[in-house]
Subunit: 502 residues, 2 copies
């Protein structure tokens, strides 16, 4: 091994160990830790975070990265090593120009802000959250400013952080096409919704039985219980310590059958990605999913493209019906498929169906653009939010709780993050068309054999971790980079077929 690279890894393996410890504390806080714990544990987390940063951002690491970026040294590195150097370089560039005292103040602000947001959301009062949000936005603008090269817009920097190569120009075009197709389609669909009776979904479903079925489905789609566990938390999520320890959570409602089932399929999709990253790169900075968008593409491919497909449920629905014979007595497979795909305008992003979902994202994207262009005041956000819902969805929040305060992202300083959800859905659709052209997906699903589908994703996406970015992965998979048109096509075809529109 190259000696400079070896030295770099001596530093980075510490950084990775602190990151793993922080991940475990976060997991523990969400799933198990007692109520009064965090006030004291936060001290430990603060110290570990500090160790994480000071071991990543220091002169030794910078010097090594500088040396390793030279042509001569690069020639000495293999494919994975080059990717590791590139990734660390990017992390340093993101953080190095921020004065440590500003970063600490910002970290403390966002740590407190999620508490302020949570209370404001309960009170449905944006004014309570507005001053904190205003400060967070100031910091994000300032931090982006430190890195901005001449002519680069701050919001483009944030977008690029979440998905390399993406900017407003590309997203404007992508979202423009979606709006054009989805807004009228959703209206047409909504007109025919009276014919789909979904009351069955809100009957009483025993939680222990839901858990059992969800665990079964998780294994069915490919979650490996030798290298993963499932727990419970308020909001489902996925995390991992390395490729042999991937953890997902789920939540359960007695009066909602779908919620837990599609959450577990979604999180299993994320988990399958992390479980199949190669051993050679786990415990390194590139040993994780390549981007938020690509990660969402995998969770949504399993949840929506496969998981809401009739062929998927053909072998599985009898088992669900066996689990809940009373509740599903009068619900045929055909009826169930219509139910799980029913679409309508709505106010809450996390409860949205597949068709209206991108509109929620577009609203947030357009608002974030306005914020970073300095074109709106924070205090005006609720009004702008409600106006956009009226315009795109034809409905309007009754209060800030079901409006501008519904998502936690901004309280954590995550601007530029929301578009990843739509990018993920679009990648899932693009992969779907490609895979349909090379393998009999419906046949596999009907036979209950997901192995060839999963293995294809393992081999062409998962194994690479962050050694390739989204476009590199797509290009070598199907000789085409990201193309949002497939998503428009997918939604249009699917909903015209389901709702028997012309």
């Amino acid at each position: 091994m190259n000696t400079n690279f070896q030295q770099l890894m001596n530093h980075i393996e510490k950084v990775m160990a602190f990151q793993a410890a922080l991940t475990l504390f976060e997991w523990d806080a969400e799933t198990l830790a007692p109520e009064e714990s965090m006030e004291y544990t936060s001290k430990t987390i603060g110290i570990l975070s500090n160790e994480y940063f000071s071991n990543l951002i220091n002169d030794d690491v910078k010097k090594l990265i500088h040396k390793l970026s030279e042509e001569k040294e690069q020639a000495d590195l293999d494919f994975n090593e080059k990717a590791i150097v590139k990734d660390i370089k990017k992390s340093i560039e993101e953080l190095e120009h921020i004065p440590p005292e500003e970063y600490r103040a910002y970290s403390e602000l966002t740590a407190k802000a999620s508490g302020i947001w949570s209370k404001a959301k309960q009170k449905k009062c944006f004014a309570d959250f507005s001053p904190a949000l205003d400060k967070i936005i100031d910091y994000r603008k300032k931090f982006a400013g430190y890195r901005a090269k001449k002519g680069t817009k701050p919001y483009d920097i944030l977008l690029n952080d979440f998905e390399e190569g993406f900017n407003m120009e590309k997203l404007d075009e992508f979202f423009g096409k979606i709006k054009e197709a989805v807004i009228p389609l959703l209206k047409e669909v909504a007109k025919k919704n009276d014919s789909i009776d979904k009351t069955y979904n809100y009957r009483h479903y025993d939680i222990e039985k839901q858990k059992e079925f969800c665990k079964y489905v998780s294994g069915y789609v490919g979650f490996d219980f030798n290298r993963g566990v499932i727990a419970e938390s308020a909001h489902p999520f996925t995390t991992n310590l390395h490729n042999h320890d991937v953890r997902i959570t789920n939540h359960f409602h007695e009066d909602n059958l779908e919620s837990a089932i599609f959450s577990i399929i979604h999180e299993s999709g994320h988990a399958i990605y992390e479980m199949h990253i190669e051993d050679a790169i786990t415990h390194t900075p590139v040993g994780t999913g390549t981007s938020m968008g690509m990660h969402e593409s995998q969770s949504r491919f399993f949840e929506n493209v496969i998981g809401r497909n009739e062929a998927f449920w053909k072998p599985l629905y009898p088992k669900l019906r066996e689990t809940f014979p009373e509740q599903l007595r009068d619900v045929s497979l055909e009826h169930f498929i219509k139910g799980i795909n029913k679409a309508a305008p709505g106010l809450i992003r996390t409860e949205a169906d597949e068709l209206s979902y991108p509109l929620h994202i577009i609203i947030r994207y357009e608002i974030e653009k306005l914020i970073f262009a300095g074109k709106i005041k924070v205090e005006d956000l609720p009004e702008i939010w409600n106006e956009k819902y009226r315009e795109y969805m034809g409905i309007e929040p009754k209060n800030d709780g079901e409006g501008v305060l519904q998502d936690i992202h901004w309280a954590g300083g995550s601007f530029g993050y929301f578009p990843s959800y739509a990018i993920g859905s679009a990648i899932a659709a693009q992969i779907n068309y490609h895979m349909l052209s090379i393998m009999p997906i419906e046949k596999y699903l009907t036979e209950g054999n997901l192995t060839p589908i999963r293995e294809y994703l393992n081999n062409h996406i998962h194994r690479y971790g962050k050694t390739k970015n989204t476009n590199e992965i797509l290009k070598s998979m199907m000789d085409e980079e990201f193309n949002g048109d497939y998503y428009v096509k997918y939604l249009t075809e699917k909903y015209k077929r389901l709702y028997e529109l012309n």
Copy 2:
């Protein structure tokens, strides 16, 4: 605050953060982590352990400790600060003379040895474990040798590490008295055992109901669910991140009622100790129980002194009977009390009753003495073990699995640890006589009011953490240091009464 002390704490707060992270990884491994995780997580644990040691044992910390040990500086420190300096000094003295490469080799050896031990135990074959144990003993002798002052025996050093002020001279006297009293008493008791029918304990007990009852009992004795959680693991244990995050585990058997109930009371005793250490010293090296012996005294006080007392069960037994009406229909309270206190010679330490328990400890203590005096060969251990069980218990293991291989301690290099269990039982008895002289314990128990009992322990033991050692705590509590005679008195009185011996 003294500036040298402030500087010391800047180092030590990192040490504490790494310790907390290691504790969380250990908890997670025992309770939840997926099967294949540890092979990879061990790398993270290795790095965090290394950070722990290098931040504790380094020239800066040594210099600060040296300065802070001077009279002038000591005058500047308060009670807690003095205790912290003393404790860090002791930790450094334990570790500093061990060459790092030897320590690493030893750590790797013990990490592997528990796997070797576990397989050897399954195969019931000591010869498979013997070579590893031989090497571990060599290291322990060598490490003790680095610290031995002239005339100090290696085993005395190990005993003192676990319980300050204890050595072979003291323990020989203590254990001598126990043998003299317990061996003949156990024989007498065993003769009358036919009259106590304990078959009820091995009926079928639903595990969900056991869990529910155990959780109730845990809260009943004082476990605070705002600062603690209960999970499951193969062997019950207690751990903590700080005084507001204390975790216990339990195990359940469908065909054994007692096992889970007395395990949860035992672990709750440990937890109550940690939960009541003062805020001022949590997150410092003295913010934990003062010794293994004192910790066991608290778990055993709750489990045995209180938990096997008829007065304790008067208000609680109806609830247990309500939980299991079929199984306990023919078992009166009097019958139940006799059952949970039934004593007989046995082969397995962790399943032993209160009376025979110290004999298990004495056997291990006497063997460890022989080992460190160099008087026996490791390969002869099974024979010596069996001989001692024949002599003290009148029974003999049929194989190494239920004999010399039953405990994990030696595989981890823990020599000098076993006596703490007996010291703990003895302290519990001593505290019991003292408390009986100042408060109506039986009345409180009968009323189901454990608060005054628990508060007394909180105020006189728990709050101090490691700022006082065992003898200092006992002395200020009852004007008497450790005195093993109370334990002999307690066992004799209790079992003569229960078995109606003259």
